[in-house]
């Protein structure tokens, strides 16, 4: 046994000359009585309910956060809009009354898209007119040149256009 161990043993022996005061009997009566009273009053907290309760609290917190974020963002946007010029609505052209054009479903779709994106209506009509003329011209060319299938020209591009072909 080394010196340190001897010192430890000495102090352990000294400590054993005392003991802890144990819980008195009246303390048992008091505490067990209070515990039983609590038992009768408090229903058992069923473990599976705990995660459910956490889930409900989390959901409520999420709803609160999202709705408050919505509310404050709307308030912010409203404050920006006050005093600004209001956009005026322009009557759209009656595209349905236009004379029938080739590939009309495609063109109508294209026009509908163009209309929703708010493009300049006059420019669009001019463009359509040019496309229609080009297509008419191409159809005529096609009927005259059907005997030459080997040519690699675009049917959609007007003759004499300066677009380069990469194919």
């Amino acid at each position: 046994m080394n010196k340190a161990d001897r010192r430890v043993e000495e102090i352990e022996q000294l400590l054993r000359r005392a003991r802890l005061a144990g819980p008195p009997e009246e303390l048992k009566t008091r505490i067990v009585g209070v515990a039983r009273e609590t038992w009768d009053k408090a229903p058992a907290d069923i473990p599976w309910r705990v995660p459910l309760r956490h889930l409900a609290v989390s959901a409520a917190a999420a709803v609160l956060i999202v709705s408050s974020a919505n509310y404050f963002s709307l308030r912010m946007v409203a404050s920006w809009q006050t005093g600004r010029p209001v956009a005026t609505r322009v009557e759209a052209a009656a595209f349905e009354d236009m004379p029938p054009v080739p590939y009309s479903p495609l063109v109508r779709q294209f026009l509908a898209t163009g209309r929703s994106s708010g493009q300049d209506v006059t420019a669009l009509l001019d463009y359509m007119k040019r496309v229609r003329e080009t297509l008419n011209g191409t159809e005529q060319d096609d009927s005259t040149q059907r005997s030459e299938p080997g040519e690699r020209e675009s049917r959609l591009l007007p003759a004499g256009s300066k677009v380069e072909l990469y194919s």
Partner: protein, 198 residues
Amino acid sequence: MGQERRLDQHSAEDLIRATLRRDDPAACELLWARYASDLFAFLQAALSSKQDAEDVLQTVFVQIVRKRQHLAAARCLDAYVYQMARNEATSFLRRRRRKRRLEGNAQRDVSRGETPSDAPPWLVAAEPDDRSHETAEVLQAALTRLPPLQREIVVLKTYQDKTFREIAEMLEVSLNTVASRYRYGLEKLRALLKDPES
């Protein structure tokens, strides 16, 4: 002998679990029989006061009863109960410190080993003679001046005959920590008994 004690502990634990699952209030007595003595010792060591230990012990038992279904489902009953006791002791000390700070009366600081002279001793003489009484008083004063973890380990090892492994499980610290803190605690205690002013 240690193995027998472990077996007894396991059977007592199983019995408590079964009673808790049945939601039988008889579990209160079983819990008292199993934990009261150890918890009381632990709380006296942690709080350095018999009266405070009694109050906190009652709070711990009430908490155990409120969370009885969690206790029944706990992996380790002892660890759960001691965790509760530790939490209660910590919050009690915090409340006491705050109260004293508000009152501007810091003369009873447990960490400095100052306990009121009129408080009942939590360490008593093993033999009923005057010299032992005096020794018990000196030992209590010295133990109170140890850091809390060292004090708890020394008390549980010396007076409750707990093994280092059991203390490690109870306090949720490593075995090496328990062994080293025990040694440091005894060294410091020796120094304090030699020179109380150190």
